[in-house]
Symmetry: C2
Subunit: 331 residues, 2 copies
């Protein structure tokens, strides 16, 4: 297998949100594309992409973006993949690699495969990386550094195409793993989908309380709640689609979660301190594993990283937040 960094003639990003814009930054950083174009649903997003130098060309129709591209990456909520595959199919160049960044893989394969022509290499992917921000201004080149990207090529996929896409993600900073789509969906159901569901749920529960005012929930959020709100601030449409498209695995994990929670609930009701303590002790080992695997730092997190660098970032985060609020209102 070649270790050479691949250079694509023309990369087409379909969608220019957090993932699409970060991919553009990462490609620019590593010199992976001679030309980067994007398709977006609004002229405003295209203008932002051009203004930020993320793209050389923008289109409202996905088919216009993919013409002549040797790499096409769908960076859209997973429910949109079927329609986009249908739209771009006639315009795809022979030999092009078609991939995506969706959080569910079996559904994306089922949705896209029927539409794609035989003369392209369809290799679905999922970079396990993200922040709670969204939109074209939220991307940055480092998003994928040190993270994992999972590829789920269908049986019989071209090995050279897989290898080229692997080296592409490596050049973007990621490690790459190849996996069966069904197993991918199970793994992310517990490492990503269930945590998001739980975070959204507890924030919702807090918002609905009558005997604790919302102002109090906000004021005293530093006790743990705050971290859940960060996760629960993620893009609503993307997450709606995740739960619609990984239903079975999520319900399976949720069932186990509920069983375990019933046991903890019973231990609290019974005042069973030994059971509580032993449960709370054993979860520490997993944390240590994550730090040792460099998927987080061991630096204590107390919710404030207002170092000088962060204050500049805070300014752009505020702007992004206002833009997001505006988008929420529009949808």
């Amino acid at each position: 297998m070649s270790r050479q960094t691949p250079v694509f003639e023309k990369v087409a990003l379909i969608g220019l949100g957090l993932l699409g814009s970060s991919l553009s930054h990462a490609m620019r950083r590593a010199g992976l594309a001679k030309q980067i174009v994007a398709a977006a649903r609004t002229r405003a997003t295209i203008d932002t992409g051009l203004h930020l130098g993320l793209i050389d060309e923008g289109h409202l129709a996905a088919a216009d973006a993919v013409a002549g591209a040797d790499l096409v990456i769908l960076c859209v909520p997973v429910s949109a993949c079927a329609a986009i595959a249908r739209q771009i199919a006639p315009a795809l160049s022979p030999g092009a690699i078609v991939s995506d960044v969706g959080s569910t893989k079996a559904s994306v394969i089922a949705d896209m495969t029927p539409h794609l022509p035989d003369h392209v290499h369809f290799i679905p992917g999922h970079p396990i990386a993200g922040t709670e921000h969204s939109g074209p201004e939220s991307g940055f080149a480092e998003l994928f550094d040190g993270r994992w990207c999972i590829l789920t090529p269908p049986p019989g996929s071209d090995r050279q195409a897989i290898d080229k896409l692997r080296r592409f993600w490596q050049a973007c900073g990621s490690s790459v793993e190849v996996m069966e789509p069904q197993h991918h969906d199970l793994v992310v159901a517990i490492t990503s989908h269930l945590p998001h569901l739980i975070a959204y749920n507890i924030v919702g529960t807090a918002a609905d309380l009558e005997d604790v005012r919302k102002a109090e929930v906000i004021k005293y959020s530093a006790g743990g709640f705050r971290d859940f709100t960060r996760i629960a601030a993620s893009d609503p449409v993307m997450w709606r689609d995740v739960f619609l498209n990984n239903r079975q695995a999520v319900l399976e994990m949720l069932g186990r979660f509920n069983e375990d929670l019933s046991l903890l609930q019973r231990a609290i009701r019974d005042g069973d301190g030994d059971r509580l303590q032993s449960f709370f002790t054993r979860t520490r080992a997993i944390r240590r594993g994550i730090i040792d695997a460099h998927q987080d730092t061991g630096v204590a997190d107390f919710g404030r990283h207002m170092l000088p660098q962060d204050e500049a970032a805070q300014g752009s985060a505020d702007a992004e937040r206002q833009a997001a609020a505006k988008r929420d209102k529009e949808t």
Copy 2:
């Protein structure tokens, strides 16, 4: 009310973990105590406290530490408060302020009040601040900066003593709120206790899976799970005590959480995208409130704050982690 920063002759900290050691740092920073002494259960903790300059004197018996102190603060898991109150009662100086930092307030009041003499001012407190680390090495002066400290003085408490303790916490960097203990317990049940319970639970669920290996859970934790493991790495004994001592409020909040989760579960099962999206959209508003209230930054969190400063901190965090692992083994 006086705005003057109070200076205590002798402050006795009972317990020298994250909270006790951070209080020492904060007191040193603001010059709040002429002398700081501590009681700890082990000679090793006392030696660390002396070595780090946290304390001027250390004792194994709490009663020895409080002799002559005009401020006594219990910084121990809440189940230990009753026994400590009984031990220190005969040694307390007339006019001393006795407080604590426990996460539950009704139980602490019920446990301590019967033992304390009438000639001291008992004013329970709870700083809403913490990290996932524990032990005397984990403290730092900034822990309370910009956070809230809740005081729950019993009816008829001396106003001057309340005011003095308020100014003490303000000088440690906190804002101060006075609240009924029952209401405090309800507020923290949702902002702190339930989030911790949920985090512990999901990490436990992940650890028990058979079809997803623990190595995979760790490797792909950047999708959201990682943040739960941080919370679930908090001190097991402290959290056991929280759930034993705020049982009713936690079970009440857990009941509501479960009801809400059943609705989300049903929406997923039914493929009800509209309900999911509207639920996920409305939780964003709470996040914005927390950032606007400066209880977190809007800077995107992607799990790596490895700025140069952090790398130094990582070193000490690693050391702390090893010490914690050793402690876990010992208990």
